[in-house]
């Protein structure tokens, strides 16, 4: 099929998608901007660390400095003029955007005419994309809760005292990588997939493919136990139940194993990463048991997302663990 530019343009120029297109540029830009300042500071740190005398006398910032200058300046005018300037710029930008692009308005709401694809607002598309990989109670309820709580525990589990109030990369490698993976790799990327890749029926359309509402996906998703051919019906006489019952129980018990294996392997991996360098070990020793357990739990749960996504997209596996009440 020919490369469908029109389709790409249609999605990218939909008024409500313009913010994501903006985010596609803004997120990398600010990532670069932050890391650039971090690297500049890292160079300064390297100099100070190799030269004890300089560490005592040098101005420990990359900003310009003259001993004659005051360390603090008046808020008015030096800070507030910047704020007013930025406010004016934002207003101009918003005006320009509002004059050139109209807010969308579709037909009146009609429960009988389904929108296909029916998409949540773009900032929730990451969660909607998660519906592909997890049951709604996980994607819609458990995961948002974990994200919120996970963000809130960050200050309490990060016991690295360095990098407080200045950009740095070297002094905070692990936390920065974790945050970037979570924010850019999972949150922003899932939104981008939900916006640009998911077409009618929430099916996967590569950029350039036409969004064909008639397309049917024949991919068959299987559960892990089916791949392993777990059939517990022979257990029926032992437990005095029907064959169906026995099969259900066998499946439920089987599913525990891959999960346990995942948790053990993930914990080892997380532990390895957390204690890889001398510096990491030092920080690790400062952490209390409660902090360690909390951090490992959240890191392991975070790691389970890409694993589940991979299992689903590449190996077409739907559930790992099937029980009569819920499935994961």
């Amino acid at each position: 099929m020919p490369f469908d530019w029109r389709q790409i343009w249609e999605v990218a120029s939909a008024p409500d998608n313009v913010p994501i297109v903006a985010l596609l540029f803004l997120a990398p830009f600010y990532m670069w901007y932050a890391l650039r300042q971090g690297i500049a500071n890292d160079k300064l740190i390297a100099i100070l660390e190799s030269d004890a005398q300089a560490a005592k006398t040098k101005y420990r910032k990359t900003q310009e400095w003259d001993p004659k200058w005051e360390r603090e300046v008046h808020t008015w005018p030096y800070l507030m003029r910047m704020e007013f300037l930025v406010a004016i710029l934002v207003t101009v930008l918003l005006m320009a955007w509002s004059l050139t692009l109209n807010a969308p308005l579709e037909e009146p709401a009609n429960p009988n005419v389904t929108m296909n694809p029916a998409k949540a607002p773009w900032y929730f598309l990451g969660l909607q994309e998660m519906l592909v990989y997890f049951d709604p109670w996980i994607a819609g309820v458990v995961m948002p809760t974990l994200i919120i709580v996970g963000l809130m525990v960050i200050p309490y589990i990060d016991s690295n005292p360095l990098g407080n109030g200045y950009y740095t990369y070297k002094q905070r490698r692990f936390s920065i990588w974790t945050f970037l993976v979570g924010f850019i790799g999972l949150w922003v990327l899932m939104i981008v997939i939900g916006t640009f890749i998911r077409g009618p029926g929430w099916m996967w359309f590569w950029p350039g493919q036409t969004w064909d509402a008639e397309r049917v996906d024949y991919a068959v998703n299987r559960n892990l136990d089916q791949i392993f051919g777990i059939d517990g019906s022979w257990l029926a006489p032992i437990f005095h139940t029907t064959k169906d019952q026995a099969a259900i129980w066998a499946r439920a018990i089987f599913g525990i194993f891959p999960l346990v294996i995942f948790f053990i392997v993930a914990a080892i991996l997380v532990h390895w990463v957390c204690t890889r360098t001398e510096f990491s070990k030092k920080i690790y020793k400062r952490m209390s048991l409660l902090q360690l357990v909390t951090m490992y739990t959240f890191l392991i749960l975070m790691l389970s997302l890409p694993i589940k996504i991979l299992l689903r997209l590449v190996f077409t596996i739907k559930y790992i663990w099937v029980t009569p009440w819920f499935s994961i």
Binding site: T75, V90, L105, A109, P111, A118, V141, F279, S288
Partner: protein
């Protein structure tokens, strides 16, 4: 004739007096006008100005400080700030931009409320009316919409910069948490507004969004443990959110009230806490002097066993 004389004298006297006073008046008037004009060049010296702003404004340090401290809006700020923090590159102004967008949204939102009825009969028509007949109505709606999207991007980027500068570390842990709640509230604010035009876009977005609530563990009719708890489509959390089992008139009213009253109020309260804590935590965290690894101090305060450094590893 004394009378005539007197009359004549008094006549000329009156005339002269009038002339004199007219001349004097002219002089004082020009004088006064000049004075007024020079005063206007320095409006900060007028009684009116002083009555409003409470302090004299001379270009001297004390007054620069006072003009910030004695103004109810400006005194969110300290009188003086870290000289390096006034540059764009540390904060990117992102918190400020987020706040400014919140103000813009409040302003345009109130104007929109003048034209909008949260009822199934009128909501959609009101939007059409706004778009086609209300002067600047289309601009108003567009600005409200795009400012909302921008605010979400700004709040994410603000969180990102706070993370990258390590500004959540002691003593700012709690303010980070307040921030996380503000971010969630910002997204909920946007989401509740999505339904209000009562068009297909909002309807299906909210349908998709609230369908997830069906699956809430224990509290949703399709969630694990839900049916066992006696949940049906007519009494679970989704029902509570929508005021019904489908997205309809009640859902519209609820979205309207959350969007225009409840969430903005909650956000305002949290914003107050957020800003207050920025000040109480010692202002913006940086740009701080870099710290070296060799300068890390051992933690000493005695803590319960589970909170003590594990020493493992």
């Amino acid at each position: 004739m004394p009378e005539e004389n007197g009359d004549g004298k008094s006549k000329t006297g009156i005339l002269e007096k009038a002339k004199d006073s007219a001349a004097a008046l002219r002089e004082t008037l020009t004088e006064k006008a000049k004075q007024q004009a020079t005063e206007l060049k320095e409006p900060e010296k007028t009684q009116l100005y002083r009555s409003i702003f409470r302090v004299k404004h001379d270009e001297e340090p004390r007054n620069r400080a006072l003009s910030v401290l004695s103004n109810v809006f400006f005194h969110l700020h300290p009188a003086k700030v870290n000289r390096d923090a006034t540059k764009y590159n540390f904060t990117w102004g992102m918190g400020g931009i987020t706040f400014y967008l919140f103000i813009v949204l409040t302003f345009t939102g109130v104007l929109l409320m003048f034209y909008y009825h949260p009822s199934k009969i009128q909501a959609f028509r009101d939007i059409l009316y706004l778009e086609n007949d209300v002067p600047f109505g289309k601009l108003l709606r567009n600005m409200h919409r795009w400012a909302a999207h921008l605010m979400i991007i700004a709040v994410w980027l603000h969180m990102f910069r706070v993370f990258m500068t390590g500004s959540y570390k002691r003593p700012r842990e709690f303010n980070w948490c307040v921030g996380v709640l503000l971010m969630v509230l910002t997204m909920l604010l946007s989401f509740t507004g999505y339904l209000l035009p009562d068009d297909q876009l909002g309807f299906w977005a909210v349908t998709v969004g609230t369908n997830m609530a069906r699956a809430t563990p224990l509290l949703g009719n399709e969630g694990p443990g839900g049916p066992q708890m006696g949940m049906t489509p007519y009494n679970d959390v989704r029902f509570a959110l929508l005021g019904g089992s489908i997205v309809d008139a009640n859902a519209l009213l609820r979205a309207y009230i959350w969007h225009c009253i409840a969430i903005p109020l909650i956000v305002a309260i949290f914003l107050g806490v957020h800003f207050w804590r920025v000040r109480k935590d010692g202002g913006i965290s940086g740009p701080a002097p870099v710290m070296l690894e060799s300068e890390i101090k051992e933690e000493r305060s005695p803590r319960p066993v589970i909170l003590r450094p594990s020493g493992m590893g």
